[in-house]
Subunit: 341 residues, 2 copies
């Protein structure tokens, strides 16, 4: 009878129909998927470990793009995509153990997240995305450090030396405020750590003492955070000529705050973002565009591709510096040039 369901070609169509009809009449609901999975050793699903707080993920356009790409890759392969609950409150690693999946994708969690550790102990292939290269599992990401370095070079070229930064959270604990250089180096979010480090390198090269640059951290990731972060930086040093945000969402909030203070962008203040989301494009934001959908798709492919046990692969996708209309020469610098010799 198993054949009737799974191997239509192994028996006569007539018999097959008869078997299936009878089965249905007897109230047989079809083969149990779990029992089948146990027997075939295939769960038919991929697990996704998402940022601890689900609402953050679903409100972050970049995360949604990633999810879409991953979902598309899974659909292509006829595989399900299981969102694994990773509640940070109760350190409920059990959900990782209970997930009946053929592999995991881990997206942008803190590098000391216990759920990540639990995933790595499961004997299934894993792809990490926007995470440090672990050397033991496949990885997909971008060159956050290099991309931010390039953006910084653009600002430095425009003449900016006195700048401020608003970044996303750097660790599992909430720290809405200024960030010490130590905390920057020790940041547990790979992406944020590298973006900050790209900035530090570029500005240090330009003779700026990075330890004096105001860097403000926000736990929540939304435009309000961007606005309040910008306010905090501007309160600390009203003289800054550029506000660098580590995401477009934060940058969009910063723009609002600039407007609230009567600062024209970019005339009085340059504002930059990161990600290249739709809203940033519409706002003409200077930013780094990264292929978020492709990232998800690449992660899915890596996981699902017929997987010759080779050494772990590492994929870096290309980014693009988008020079929008929110960056320009600093007020003073512009005048110097304009009226200069």
């Amino acid at each position: 009878m198993s054949n009737a369901y799974n191997r239509p070609d192994q028996l006569s169509p007539e018999l097959r129909r008869r078997v299936l009809d009878t089965a249905r009449r007897l109230g047989y609901p079809g083969p149990d998927p779990v029992a089948r999975s146990l027997r075939t050793r295939k769960a038919g699903a991929v697990g996704l470990l998402l940022t601890e707080n689900l609402s953050y993920a679903f409100r972050d356009p970049a995360a949604i793009g990633f999810l879409e790409g991953l979902a598309l890759a899974c659909e292509d392969a006829g595989t399900g995509l299981l969102l694994v609950p990773a509640n940070p409150e109760r350190e409920d690693v059990a959900s990782v153990h209970r997930a009946g999946v053929d592999g995991f994708v881990v997206y942008s969690v803190p590098d000391d997240d216990p759920h990540l550790a639990a995933v790595l102990e499961r004997p299934v292939p894993t792809v990490v995305c926007d995470q440090p290269d672990l050397g033991t599992v496949d990885r997909v990401g971008i060159d956050d450090r290099g991309a931010m370095y390039e953006l910084a070079k653009h600002l430095i070229g425009l003449g900016h030396r006195r700048v401020g930064v608003v970044c996303m959270r750097l660790a599992r604990d909430r720290n809405d405020g200024f960030v010490t250089p130590d905390r920057q180096h020790a940041a547990h979010f790979h992406v944020q750590r590298n973006r900050l480090s790209g900035l530090a390198e570029a500005f240090s090269e330009a003779g700026v003492d990075w330890s004096q640059v105001p860097v403000v951290e926000r736990f929540d990731h939304n435009t309000s955070s961007g606005a309040s972060g910008a306010a905090q930086v501007l309160d600390r040093d009203p003289q800054i000529t550029a506000l660098i945000c580590t995401s477009d969402v934060l940058a969009l909030g910063a723009m609002t705050e600039a407007g609230r203070r009567g600062l024209r962008v970019p005339h009085d203040l340059t504002v930059t973002g990161f990600d290249g989301i739709r809203a940033a494009e519409e706002a003409g934001l200077t930013t780094v565009r990264q292929p978020v959908l492709e990232k998800g798709r690449a992660a899915g492919k890596l996981l699902l591709d017929a997987h010759e046990r080779t050494r772990p692969r590492s994929v870096n996708l290309a980014t693009e510096l988008i020079i929008g209309k929110t960056s320009g020469p600093p007020r003073g610098g512009a005048e110097e040039r304009w009226f200069g010799p």
Copy 2:
């Protein structure tokens, strides 16, 4: 040994540690989730059947809100959320059969979708959302018909009699163009069918011959569709005073098209939407706000709540008519009133 993993309280902590240590040393990766699921008859996951084309879902703010709400409910319950691939190309109902889940949520699929039929044959609890009430399974939704009726009454009160409509797709086949009354009635998407029917009722009551009202359908759901749909309606009848869209996304596109034609909203043309998404709020769109996140949460709760086998439940969530700044009296009507007796 099972006890060491699952019933820490049934044995001495010391022994437990010893057992677990030994197990790990022997390379035992922990209990197999699938085998456990088979034995306990609990998959620990809920299946979600989404709109056929995944990209549509991930680009629709309302769908994302629903997903967020559902994911939150699942997280609360410590349950996974499995996105079931439902590729419309190959009628691959197998994915539904293969899904190892304790229940299904079905969100806004055509009522003749074979995947839906497959779900209903699975012997697990199911909640349908934005679908017709099947009477056999739980349902969550809103009063689409009533909400749209109320919106129409608002427009009628303003004086609009000559209107046009842009709606989302009404069936599985692509039909980018005008919609016959027949097709409206036979629409396979519950939500669209009811919204149109609410409009038809209100305008018929106001003496408008609904069969003469231009209704344009768009398969893709994005602002471009809204714009081109609006264009098609306005080309057919440039005299219309109000353009009613069955979603905010379409309405936002329609606004763009109005601007392109030099029509000021609402002075020259009233435009309305449906959903109450963020971008609509920012644009001041007249629309119906529905609690999309709560819908997802309610669906999850219905599915996961200790489920005394009662009769199927049906939940209607409240909506709210938002009168924004995109609706006003029709040009002619306004003047009549203004300069009238």
